[in-house]
Symmetry: C2
Subunit: 134 residues, 2 copies
Amino acid sequence: VTPTLIDHVGIAVDDLEQAVERYRGLLGDEPVHRETVADQGVEEVLFAVGGSFVQLLGALGADTPVGTFLARRGPGIHHMAYRVDDLEAELGNLRADGAQLIDETPRPGSRNTLIAFVHPRSTGGVLMELVQER
Amino acid sequence: VTPTLIDHVGIAVDDLEQAVERYRGLLGDEPVHRETVADQGVEEVLFAVGGSFVQLLGALGADTPVGTFLARRGPGIHHMAYRVDDLEAELGNLRADGAQLIDETPRPGSRNTLIAFVHPRSTGGVLMELVQER
């Protein structure tokens, strides 16, 4: 993978509105984006930091990936995303290197991006996402 | 806080050399820095991604903060650091907002930086570091 940027760090939160309020204060700025991503079971709010984002993730239900993460570990950093230019090619590179992909092909993410997740087993315990802007 | 950048994401790893090898492959690049920070009980290796860093953290012993994190949660993201221009002033802002500071005043970090940590209680469960370059 040849990432150009840390695209975002995803933080799982119990109460999204409370967390937005807290990060509005912590980062001294308004969020730049809010979106419900039904197929990932989350509502997300983005704050811009440099060219990267801090992504607050509220679970849409207890049986969603973020919901189970919160039940197991409590609020905290959920995943880390790198921005890439050619996601399809990067997935090929990772596959060739023996990485365990959660998504074998790019799928739609928020902000009209293409995304794919890589299993923590291949990244030292960190759920890793790749993001390509369109 | 008015961060200019995500300075780095710190990842606690069990075996630093193995993790360096893995991230050399994952990020397709050589690390840019290696440093033992005795007073934090870690050896760190940095990879550059855009203007940010991915920081691999090996514990210098089981009784260090990263050592106890690893024993409790296993390898994974340990903290998130924001780059700021004036750390002293930012700590004043955070204090005024009622944030719980781990470091009341800036202290030396790696790469000849000044750093301070903010308690996860004030940041939605995320150990937060502020970094000022000198």
